[in-house]
């Protein structure tokens, strides 16, 4: 699995710890994952679950420094992002990996024209001359469906609407044809009707370019229809990862299941009482012993409070990997009120090999 050549991204046991005055905070705590060309991975979780820090650490924007410890391995395009020099890392940004951030208002420079944002990367990384870069930038703006691309090139970010600005940010990210795109909450700051347009646009562009995409979002609905696989994060860890439809229709981890159940559904009757998850996510300065979700879980038993469940293979009817970190997975153990169709003969009591690898 490790020696696979078409892997665009490989992350092994990544840990990001912020050394705060009040103690170390393990924002990302042992996450592993991998991504092939053309594949889309969704990372979902609540705020504070570590999904954005994970994205930034994978990108190399968060690196080892006096107040931050990064350990583990992130391999992009044959390089270990955290073992190379900052100069070499910058060379990866653009052609190998690019990022789209949440807020299009702050990720564009207000005193630079739209065109400059895009041509800058083209001239630096692809060594294009001024005219070539300009022509290519106009072409990119067309590809992200910005009308009157020539005129927009000369405008400043404040002259564009939020949706248009996010399109510019996407055009910037795509300028050097990256093999991996990390989109961190790309639509959270946008209106609902615009959200759908931007997500559809990202999906179209990724498919055209056979680009691997990581879509980080707290919006489960945004992730559901647009990703191949999904990883659910809680308190800095992956608690479940599998095919998207499997996680959404037959989740194994009680957190994943509870998160899905807490969203109001359009086909529910009005005034349906929602199944909220009581309590709040743990303080990462002092995470609970054992399973980190145990204090909020409906099914907690003594073992959950003492023994930390490893992420382990539970099997999937299609033969795909399905990992969950729970002593008593909902479907595989078969004794809980969850969907019972995909019941693999994995026994909850049997301590399976504590594999930490995702796909």
């Amino acid at each position: 699995m490790n020696a696979n050549n078409d892997l665009v991204l490989e992350v092994n046991d990544l840990r990001t710890t912020f050394l705060t005055p009040r103690g170390p905070v393990g924002a990302v705590d042992g996450v592993s994952m991998s991504l092939r060309a053309g594949e889309t991975l969704g990372i979902v979780g609540e705020s504070g679950s570590g999904k954005s820090v994970l994205g930034r650490t994978v990108m190399g924007l968060i690196a080892d420094n006096p107040t931050t410890r990064v350990s583990g391995e992130v391999r992009i395009g044959g390089h270990d992002v955290h073992a190379i020099t900052p100069r070499e890392r910058r060379r990866l940004w653009g052609p190998e990996v690019a990022m789209v951030f949440q807020d299009p208002m702050t990720s564009l420079n207000p005193v630079k024209k739209v065109g400059t944002h895009i041509t800058e990367a083209l001239r630096l990384h692809l060594k294009l001359d001024k005219a070539e870069a300009h022509a290519r930038a106009v072409e990119l703006l067309r590809q992200v469906f910005i009308p009157e691309a020539e005129r927009r090139m000369r405008q400043y970010p404040h002259e564009l609407s939020g949706g248009m600005r996010q399109r510019v940010v996407i055009a910037m990210a795509l300028a050097c044809d990256p093999k991996l795109l990390i989109a961190d909450e790309p639509t959270t700051a946008l209106d609902v009707t615009v959200q759908k347009q931007i997500l559809d646009l990202l999906a179209t562009l990724a498919a055209e370019r056979n680009m691997a995409t990581i879509l980080i979002s707290h919006d489960l609905g945004a992730v559901e229809g647009r990703t191949d696989r999904v990883a659910v994060m809680y308190a800095g860890r992956t608690v479940e990862t599998s095919r998207t439809s499997r996680v959404f229709h037959a989740p194994e981890h009680p957190y994943a299941e509870a998160l899905l159940a807490s969203i109001p559904r359009l086909d529910d009757d009005p005034h349906t009482v929602l199944r909220a998850i009581e309590g709040t996510p743990p303080n990462l300065l002092n995470p609970p012993v054992g399973c980190r979700f145990a204090p909020r879980c409906r099914f907690t038993v003594d073992r959950c409070r003492t023994e930390d469940p490893a992420l382990r293979e539970l099997g999937d009817a299609t033969g795909a990997t399905h990992l969950a970190a729970c002593h008593f997975p909902l479907v595989a153990s078969g004794d809980r009120a969850a969907e019972s169709s995909a019941g693999e003969p994995a026994n909850a009591a049997a301590t399976a090999s504590p594999t930490q690898e995702v796909n």
């Binding site: 209106d191 229809g225 005034h271 709040t280």
Partner: protein, 369 residues
């Protein structure tokens, strides 16, 4: 014509809050005016929750604040239990308005960071001269009612609480005044999904326990449907559709309502039924929809304000503003292209509706500059 009509009003009922032809405009230099709300009519019955749904810029927050008289609407009337609020002197207004409370979107920034929870919750009643043990008892009861442990949070400041807990404090602050009407402006959109469910359940429970009527402003169709009895869809300051929340995702017929529903994940399947309006919208390419954004509220389109983005738009839509018409019991739509069951009240609209179904969505840019 000032507004989109008053057909949805219930003249026989006895509303706790009624809003009549409310207009909110903000001057922005050079004699330009932002038309935030253009002629809104609301009647809120006791115990009812009205959901106001729309994108940002549609005027839903301006409407909520104008009802609270912060600031007062430019034109029109707002009556709380029969008392006219517009034009009152500020001392009178504060006395009359106490029965109506508001909950804002961002719970953290709407609490004074330097004050402790008990002082924040007590503030409203203190202004009215309450103090002492009775006040403390009231604070404790209210904190318990919103699901906070009084002993644990009593001396905390907002930064020591999570977003969900801050929103509970905001709800407690509102409840202390024993209101009849609660106006919630996007109360859950700054919160995580698991916390969002807690707060929605709390609001629902609070409404029952305190006999409240609620106006719930939000952009999320599923959330609005869950909490409301009646839903009003707003676009650029105009009412598009008013309908019961029950089955609203299948019953809504206004092209804008359909667009909103189709935009939410999983909404595509619901939207692509054989309904002609919906079918036409579903046929719209996402790319072409991409270039049609909200027109400027400085200079809203003539006629129907949605026509610049509407796949069904025709010349009629540019020339004449559609009025709200009842198409089923309690279901009102302001669109020329929606057929009225049985005898239509407006002949012109009826004729337009008859020709609407075969009309292809091929000319969405009719008369658009």
């Amino acid at each position: 014509m000032a507004g989109s009509g008053t057909a949805h009003m219930r003249p026989d009922a006895d509303p706790v809050l009624s809003v009549d032809q409310m207009v909110v405009e903000f001057p922005v230099g050079r004699r330009q005016v932002v038309h935030a709300v253009s002629g809104m009519n609301i009647d809120l019955l006791p115990g009812e929750t009205l959901g106001i749904l729309g994108e940002s810029g549609c005027g839903k927050s301006s409407a909520g604040r104008a009802i609270m008289q912060e600031p007062s609407p430019t034109k029109g009337s707002v009556r709380l239990q029969g008392t006219e609020l517009t034009g009152l002197r500020s001392a009178d207004l504060r006395r009359k308005r106490a029965r109506m409370q508001m909950i804002m979107q961002d719970p953290v920034s709407s609490l004074n960071p330097r004050r402790k929870v008990h002082a924040l919750v007590a503030e409203g009643l203190k202004i009215w001269g309450f103090d002492g043990d009775d006040l403390d008892t009231a604070i404790r009861e209210t904190l318990v009612a919103v699901g906070l442990d009084p002993d644990a949070v009593w001396d905390r400041r907002p930064h020591e609480l999570s977003g969900g807990q801050c929103q509970r404090v905001c709800i407690a602050r509102a409840l202390m005044m024993n209101p009849d009407v609660l106006i919630c402006d996007e109360p859950v959109s700054a919160l995580d999904v698991s916390v969002q469910a807690q707060i929605l359940n709390l609001l629902e429970r609070t409404k029952q326990n305190y006999d409240l009527s609620m106006i719930f402003i939000a952009h999320d169709v599923s959330v609005v449907k869950n909490i409301s009895d009646r839903v009003m869809v707003l676009y650029l300051g105009k009412t598009c559709e008013v309908l019961p929340s029950n089955d609203m995702h299948v019953r809504a017929v206004h092209p804008y309502s359909r667009t909103l529903i189709a935009s939410i994940p999983g909404g595509e399947e619901i939207a692509s039924t054989d309904d002609p309006v919906v079918g036409d919208l579903a046929a719209e390419k996402p790319q072409s929809a991409g270039v049609t954004e909200l027109p400027s509220p400085l200079n809203p389109p003539s006629g129907c304000r949605f026509r610049t983005r509407c796949p069904l738009a025709t010349d009629l839509c540019a020339a004449e503003e559609p009025e709200l018409r009842e198409i089923a019991t309690g279901h009102f739509v302001a669109c020329h292209h929606v057929a009225v069951d049985g005898a239509g009240p407006a002949a012109a609209a009826g004729a337009a509706a008859a020709g609407a179904d075969p009309a292809s969505p091929g000319d969405p840019a009719v008369g658009v500059a």
